[in-house]
Amino acid sequence: MTGARLVAQGIAKRFPGVVALDGVGLEVGVGEVVAVLGENGAGKSTLMKILAGVQPADEGSLFLDGREIRFTSVRDAERQGVVLIHQELNLCDNLSVGASMYLGREPRRGFLVDEAAIEDGARRALARLGVAIDPGRSIESLSLAQRQLVEIARAIAIEARVVIMDEPTSSLGEDDAERLFRVVDELRRDGVSVLYISHRLGEITRLADRVVVLRDGRFAGELTGAGIERDAMIRLMVGRDLGQFFHRSPHEPGEVVLEVVGLRTREHPGASVDLTLRAGEVVGLAGLVGAGRTAILHAIAGVDAGSGGEVRIRGRSAGLPAHPADAIAAGIALVPEDRKAHGALLDLDVRQNIGLGRLAADSRRGFVDREREAELASAKIEELRIRTPDDRQQVRYLSGGNQQKVVLARWLATEPAVLLLDEPTRGIDVGAKEEIYGLLDDLAKRGVAVLFASSELDEVLGLSDRVLVVRDGHVQGELSGAARTEEAVMRLATAERGVSP
């Protein structure tokens, strides 16, 4: 296609302690679909936020149709024709479809909102997408996929010249995803430029005219046309061969440590889960978003009590843990997915964060053993190589990787029999990832049973002895040895869709 629509040059963005983007350039032409790829923490989302006016860049310049621009806000970017469709959709649930499409730029007649114009505009934009949604319906009555389509219709109503989609298919089923792809094709035909972020390499091959790969906040490479294929993309993202990245020492699994029998989660009340973990084993939970991996881990850890089933540790029943404290007492520790909301206590210091798991166990008649707490913290800081000025530093000021190590340290201090981890390396840099992989390997060597969930397939395959593939709340299949391939995992994860959620 001809002509560059949006050009970014030398974009840099720093956050306290992290360089998110370090001089990145990006160009998207008229009617071109450019996929932006990179591991978590590579800087994709930050770049998209800068392009859409969510946050300003520290350095660099933007050009739209050859004219230098500087967005002051999302609203400003939208006025100029650049629209970001968020990962988490920001529609106001209580509004109607039409009202939410025109939120903040309502057409007026005198002092009143021109409802007829809204209805008319919304209807036309939705029709352009070939979507049959009544503009009068409320957002909360729509499915996630429909909400996504409403967001795209909103971009059309704004007459967007550039549409940025941040992981649009992460919560969609196959049919809805396919419809979304057709909409993207439609946009391309109409000369709209699309920036498309996704972790699903298959759909990028299907959609993108060009792929730009970011790594650690820098431009890592570019692929076009027939060059857009899976291995090339992975090589650019990871920057080295996968084999070196994961270390898994050879070992013999020991006695059975964790048995989960007939576990039912509230998220998928119709499905039940059975699984067994041996000492020294690392087992990966794979599956699509919404498949129920997190729900299973949460039920075992007592965070969201399950609705039925039993958990046994070394043959002794721990019942169905009703509270995290019960699970911890039984020897189960969980490193949760959302580090900032559920894992670390950001306002407390490193020492207290590490000590929290053992606080009650080490107390004497309810009093905190402060000496022991300090010893524990310094021992763990050394053992896990947590980079912090001292143990009184607020965890808020540590990098993502070090925050995650603090959470891990807390749980290692409780000497768990079973360590559960949910997306253990989300949002942390490559170096810290490697250290955490090494740590998990060490733990397994010491006889801890490790069960982790991850959406990153290479992580699941590279790290685990066995892979359990979860779908619709139950274990759809198990893969071990040479059978652990991406294709096999994806086949199980997307296996014939029974009842759709």
Binding site: H323, A341, A344, D347, L348, L356, L359, F367, V368
Partner: protein, 328 residues
């Protein structure tokens, strides 16, 4: 600690200005009264602080004070109960009210504001209905008990000056609460869940139990405070006794450095904050500002203190952000 120093300086500053304008401020009798009032209000502020540390609020403090303060003379004098029965019953009643608040907040997930607002209306209404708005008093009896609020100790080497008994009671309470908050597992858990309740729960803290305990402590201290206030004034009327005391208690705690979002605050700070509130009331009185303006003055001073605190925090945060990114 830095924050407590700030409140202390503010307290000394306001005292100095008041003393300069009105020498009566430094009179022994005035100081004794000031200490007594600060101690009584400090007592209920410490209770409020426990709930505020969880990120909650207790608006029912004044009404619990009223209910207990009215029931005490009614049970003791009108019904002739033995103090050994009446006083423990009243404490149990207060603790029970707190337990109710805590369970409604943690089990049913109701908002603390709503639960305790209803408590505010309910308990005062109950007290007024029960007493028919009659004035109740101790009629010269129970002078021993009343000494707890009105008594004074001689101070060696300072002839003519006496320390009110409530000050010693508060001192004891402060030491106990300071140790509980700073040194016990319960205290740690309270601060942790105040900062991030979900993360604390994931870490194995029994957040529901700890939060409920905070409401029980707050209401029990309010009940004890109700007894002390009643002993202090000697005669109570349900329609007015303890009115707005929850606001004095909360304002003292907040002024003393408790963040309403939870997880922040110290006992020492709360004592200083509660004292500052009383000094401000005393100052408006002595300086000759019309009583009608008392609330306006207090409101203005608190607001400027909080604004100043926020401005200082932002300047500090800005400086920190610059040094972090500048390090590259």
């Amino acid at each position: 600690m830095k924050k407590n120093l700030g409140i202390l300086l503010l307290l000394l500053g306001v005292s100095a200005v008041t003393a300069a304008i009105s020498p009566a401020f430094l009179g022994f009798e005035n100081i004794e009264n000031l200490i007594r009032r600060s101690a009584l209000f400090g007592w209920i502020s410490v209770g409020a602080a426990f709930v505020i540390l969880t990120g909650g609020i207790d608006l029912s403090i004044g009404s619990v004070i009223c209910l207990v303060g009215c029931l005490a003379p009614w049970l003791l004098v009108d019904l002739g109960w033995s103090p050994w029965v009446a006083l423990p019953s009243l404490l149990l009643l207060s603790a029970g009210l707190g337990l109710g608040h805590g369970l409604l907040v943690t089990r049913l997930g109701l908002q603390p504001f709503v639960v305790t607002l209803c408590g505010l209306l309910l308990y005062r209404g109950a007290a007024r209905g029960l007493t028919q708005d009659r004035a109740l008093g101790f009629r010269g009896e129970y002078s021993g008990l009343r000494e707890l609020a009105t008594g004074q100790w001689d101070v060696p080497f300072v002839p003519g000056f006496q320390v009110p008994v409530p000050a010693t009671l508060l001192l004891a309470l402060a030491v106990v609460c300071g140790v509980v908050l700073g040194r016990t597992v319960f205290g740690r858990h309270l601060y942790a869940l105040g900062r991030n309740e979900e993360a604390a729960r994931f870490a194995g803290v029994r957040t529901e139990a700890v939060t409920t305990a905070a409401y029980v402590i707050c209401a029990t201290l309010a009940g004890l405070g109700g007894l002390l206030f009643a002993f202090d004034v000697g005669s109570v009327q349900a329609s007015s006794f303890g009115n707005f005391y929850e606001l004095y208690a909360i304002a003292g705690a907040v002024l003393g450095g408790c963040a309403l979002r939870g997880g922040e605050g110290t006992v020492l700070g709360v004592l200083l904050g509660a004292a500052l509130m009383q000094v401000l009331r005393n100052a408006t009185n002595l300086i000759g500002i019309p009583t009608q303006l008392e609330f306006a003055i207090i409101g203005a001073v608190i607001l400027s203190g909080v604004v100043l605190d926020e401005v200082v925090k932002r300047v500090a945060a800005g400086r920190r952000a610059r040094t972090t990114t500048g390090g590259r």
